[in-house]
């Protein structure tokens, strides 16, 4: 289990992290989301020891993380993270060796990952000669070549085409199923919702929500999002206290109920407008939750 305990970090006068704590269970796919500049990369860099926190600590399997433990982590930074002029195979062998594999094992691991990401024909090429998509495959191989016990990826899906997204999701899923916790940040919330069991939403250096995705959606439901369909009254828009009108979808009109909004009065108003064919409390999607917590001044979910 990976534990982040009350991480704090400032850059000069700017507070980048203001007490971030969460944990990732073995075999868990963990999504790390938040607006730009919220502190995602800073958090990941601290986990990887690339950055020192001002306060707090990172624990792995109950022990504080040091350089020897980190050698068994895998990390993929946001951009490249490869020597542009180094050959693919040499690069993977070098990184494997830095992580403690001996020469023979490093070469075997490099060859095997090159094959797995489908770059056997390009193994002797310089990284800069490859297309961006292929460079990303090398990057993935580089993060995995030493068989890490934990994988941390910063925006691994950005810039991938749909096929690339599927390939990468498959590889990550496989690793997680094998017991390796996988933490990644992403702006593609539908993807995070689909792939991850748990998420942390960060804003301005603080966690605004963390936990199992299903649990968060369930908690976010509590009569707050209502979908109503009224037959023969397409233009119907209720004007009630505590009710905000959302978008009109194919299955009806979405309404937000604030704390002072009353669902019973809403239903009465709908029935007065026409025949009600649909009335349900909706579970918000992750993106809706995200928008809510990020836009509503970080109100906790």
């Amino acid at each position: 289990m990976l534990e982040l305990i009350d991480l704090r970090r400032r850059y000069g006068d700017v507070v980048a992290l203001d007490g971030v704590s969460f944990s990732v269970a073995p075999g868990q796919m963990f999504g790390f989301v938040g607006p730009n500049g919220a502190g995602k990369t800073t958090t990941m860099r601290i986990v990887l020891g690339v950055l020192e926190p001002d306060g707090g600590e990172v624990r792995w399997r109950g022990a504080p993380v040091d350089l020897a433990i980190r050698a068994r982590f895998g990390y993929m930074p946001e951009e490249r993270g490869l020597y542009p002029k180094m050959r693919v195979r040499d690069q993977l062998v070098y990184l494997a060796r830095l992580h403690g594999l001996d020469a023979g094992a490093a070469l075997r691991a490099a060859e095997s990952w090159i094959e797995r990401v489908g770059l056997t024909a390009r193994a002797g090429d310089r990284v800069e000669e490859l297309s961006l998509g292929n460079q990303q495959r090398v990057q993935l191989g580089a993060a995995l070549v030493h068989g890490p016990e934990l994988l941390v990826l910063d925006e691994p899906f950005s810039g991938l085409d749909p096929v690339g997204v599927d390939v990468l999701s498959g590889v990550l899923r496989e690793l997680a199923d094998g017991g390796v916790p996988v933490v990644f940040s992403s702006h593609q919330l539908e993807l995070v919702e689909r792939l991850c069991e748990a998420v942390a939403i960060i804003k301005d250096g603080r966690l605004v929500a963390t936990g199992q995705v299903e649990e968060l959606r369930e908690r976010g439901r509590r009569g707050r999002l209502v979908r109503v369909a009224v037959e023969g009254a397409d233009g119907w828009r209720p004007a009630l206290p505590g009710v905000e009108v959302g978008e009109q979808g194919p299955d009806g009109l979405l309404l937000h109920l604030r704390d002072d909004g009353d669902p019973d009065r809403l239903l009465d108003a709908a029935r007065a407008a026409g025949r009600v064919t649909h009335f349900s409390f909706e579970r918000p999607t992750l993106s809706q939750l995200f928008r809510r917590v990020v836009q509503d001044e970080g109100a906790p979910v």
Binding site: Y75, P84, R97, L98
Partner: protein, 392 residues
């Protein structure tokens, strides 16, 4: 994995990757060709050897003067060939450039302004011949003539032993300066641009999640330094070999010791400058901005380069002595003095100690700046910020 193994892995990558880069190989080859040519060419072209003149004598009466000049020329390491030609033939030869001058009883005729050395020799010979004739006409006997006209020569003595190889050693020192200058600049820049490359490509994040900044920096500096040393050694062997084979330089024990010490000074100078260049690299986000942080260092090396030329002129002067104890200049001025044979063993040891001590003091400072700055992406990092960002 131990720190030593990590440093070796990093150093090996630097050595191998840089060493097999096409630009590096071509650069080395070009340098070797230039060094070999410079060592061989003076001998092949006859520059610096004996001066040779051909003088046509059209007037039999002037023959005595020509013969006398021929005799005198030997004292100046010059040879005068005398050709007796009829006046028209002499003019044609002069026109065609076959002879340097035409000598008559009354004068010297040349195509363009003749060499002063040749003219002076002919004038002196002319005076001697005329004086001899006048004395003989006045009835002075042959023995007396000889006593008057060929007195025993002045004996020349020096306080310090004369180095027969002085000119050659000057040339050797000159080359040492140029090579050290080139090598320090080149490998300083390789360190800086290597650091920027890792920073710009974010490889440094991956690396520093596994190894410490100290090990990464040490490995990089060691690997590139070794490459620079090997390259310099190759140049020294080829250059001295070519110069020795053609006789341009007598490669004796002193020269070999000086060459060995020059290599040692490269190591010292590189150790001093590479730390600073690594910081210069860590402070900027892109190769394009490297100029801004490296220019103070380039300037220091350039100043040392010009100091070395001053030292070439006065290897024993105050400037030479003072600059031997300035850690940034010593790696270039000291080898110059050593190559000229003007530095005492005590001075050499003391200068090495001073530069080494300065480097040892610089390393922890450089390490701190480097690790404080190398992970800061975005804009260029200010020196003070980098200093503060690094915690012990």
């Amino acid at each position: 994995m131990s720190g030593r193994e990590t440093v070796m892995l990093v150093a090996r990558r630097e050595f191998v990757e840089r060493g097999r880069a096409k630009a590096f190989r071509i650069g080395t080859l070009v340098t070797l060709v230039i060094v070999a040519l410079v060592a061989v060419l003076p001998t092949v072209l006859g520059v610096g050897g004996d001066e040779e003149y051909t003088v046509a004598v059209a007037d039999p009466a002037a023959l005595d003067v020509a013969r006398a000049a021929q005799e005198d020329a030997r004292a100046f390491d010059a040879t005068i060939t005398v050709r007796q030609l009829a006046a028209p033939a002499a003019s044609r030869a002069l026109e065609a450039g076959d002879v340097d001058a035409v000598l008559t009883t009354g004068g010297v005729r040349a195509k363009e302004k003749p060499d002063d050395a040749l003219v002076d020799t002919l004038q002196a010979a002319n005076r001697r011949v005329r004086v001899t004739r006048a004395l003989r006409a006045a009835g002075v006997s042959g023995d007396e003539l000889r006593t008057v006209l060929a007195p025993p020569p002045l004996r020349v003595a020096t306080v310090e032993p004369v180095d027969e190889q002085q000119d050659e050693r000057g040339g050797f020192a000159f080359f040492t300066v140029i090579l050290l200058y080139g090598q320090l600049i080149t490998f300083g820049f390789l360190v800086a641009s290597g650091v920027v490359e890792e920073k710009a490509s974010r490889v440094v994040e991956v690396l520093l999640s596994t190894i410490s900044a100290r090990h990464l920096l040490t490995g990089k500096i060691l690997g590139l330094g070794l490459l620079g040393l090997v390259q310099l050694l190759l140049i020294a062997v080829i250059g001295l070999g070519a110069a020795g084979a053609t006789g341009a330089l007598e490669v004796d024990r002193d020269v070999l010791v000086a060459a060995g010490l020059a290599l040692a000074w490269f190591v010292l100078g590189y150790a001093f400058y590479s730390c600073a260049f690594a910081c210069a690299g860590a402070l900027v986000p892109r190769q394009e901005e490297l100029q801004s942080t490296t220019s103070p260092l380039t300037l220091l090396i350039l100043v040392s380069f010009f100091l070395s030329f001053a030292v070439l002129d006065a290897p024993d002067g105050t400037l030479a002595r003072v600059s031997s104890f300035l850690p940034f200049a010593a790696p270039m001025t000291m080898p110059t003095r050593i190559a000229l044979g003007e530095a005492s063993a005590v001075e050499i040891v003391a200068a090495i100690a001073v530069t080494a001590a300065a480097t040892v003091a610089l390393i922890p400072l450089a390490g701190r700046i480097y690790s404080g700055a190398v992970l800061r992406t975005g804009a260029a990092v200010k020196f003070r910020e980098a200093w503060r960002a690094a915690r012990a």
